[in-house]
Symmetry: C2
DNA sequence: CGCGTTTTCAACAAGGTGTTGACTCTCCCG
DNA sequence: CGGGAGAGTCAACACCTTGTTGAAAACGCG
């Protein structure tokens, strides 16, 4: 997944490529991906626009490279996630969801740009979906083991539940980060999301009737 | 909210404006909004590109007009939503969520285009958020009344819950419609979403410990 | 008819993307 | 150490899309 765009690499070209990436991440912190031109990326890295194309074949490739780093970090962190669900299910889920929140907050610009670019770019979509998949796999594994030990009802398919809850997290967190309306307060997000996860995974499906 | 783009209206100009809208909706059925040029919209309506600007000031205005219709329909349908939650909470919620699903499916092209355009266009964002807001208001009203009658625990803020669950619906349904990965089967969507809603609203927050 | 308003579009301007071809620089090998 | 093979660079070009302008055609009504 590394080695995007460039043919070979020897001396100082790397620095240029890096400079483009650094410029892109900085600009993404202050405005939307669509509002950043290749000209700006090039100028920020101290090169001309045509030279930009020597390093990346398009603006989307830059986003892809940025996203690539985030994905790598995510897969690492998912692997390190504690699985102490038996002793403290609520706490364990909250910590897992907290990690999700942390990644979004830490790479806010890249995450929101990638989510928007996903609609038009196949490679971005594939890469993002890989990341979501690793979260979904983690969640559904845990849900299944909670069902196996009798702590959670088996009525609902673990995979469907995991997908829906992870998509909820993605959407709620982006709404919070972008300060959309409607959204919830940033300070309440983790609490609300955890509550929904826990009730959905462990709760019964029979509300009290009138 | 009607009367977008045009100064006055008298005779046959309306048909042209309508033809643009019809063309847009048809094209949105087969590809993404970004991949449709104003040239195509104009040709589809039998006019030249500059003439398009007589009717709409931009491509986004066309989407806005399309979305406007959908929003109107939504507000109408939310008002007509049954509130028979006391006798059959699960069924009532499922029917309400089903309406949400129906609207997305019926206006699939407009909905997905609007969601994508929301990121860059303030007016689209405002209009979409108005629609979400009417769903959120409905949901939180019902949640609060369920809490008041003692059927649902009051531990969680009704508004925060309503926002999160509605955002989940938005995201899960678009994932299903776009056949994303990960997603769930279209036939399972309503069932899974209802389950999560019901457990989140009525369930307790205390999972069984190991 | 004749005059104002509506409607139309050729032509232009601006701004972005991606490509070409030639030039420089570096460094390594003969 | 001199000459080539890349790597790296960019002016200039071609192209597409959006949005504007100004003048002309069509229409309705007195």
């Amino acid at each position: 997944m590394a080695q995007r765009g460039r043919r070979t690499r020897r001396v100082s070209g790397d620095e240029r490529q890096d400079a483009i990436l650094v410029t892109a991440e900085a600009l993404l912190g202050e405005r939307a991906f669509d509002d950043i031109s290749i000209e700006e990326l090039a100028r920020g890295a101290g090169i001309s626009r045509p030279t930009f194309y020597f390093y990346f074949s398009s603006k989307d490739e830059v986003l892809l490279a940025l996203l690539d780093r985030v994905i790598t970090e995510v897969e690492h962190r998912v692997g390190d996630l504690p699985r102490d669900f038996e002793s403290d299910p609520a706490g364990a889920w909250t910590r897992s969801i907290g990690m999700f929140v942390e990644v979004f907050v830490a790479h806010r610009g890249v995450a929101t740009a990638a989510i928007a670019a996903r609609a038009r770019n196949d490679e971005v979509r594939a890469l993002w979906s890989k990341s979501m998949q690793s979260w979904v796999d983690f969640s559904s594994d845990v849900i299944r083991s909670e069902q196996a030990r009798g702590a959670a009802p088996e009525a609902t398919d673990a995979h469907d539940l995991a997908v829906s809850l992870n998509l909820m997290n993605e959407r709620v967190i982006t709404a919070v980060l972008n300060q959309e309306t409607p959204a919830i307060a940033e300070s309440r997000a983790l609490d609300v999301l955890s509550t929904i996860w826990i009730r959905s995974i462990y709760g019964s499906a029979n509300p009290g009737r009138g």
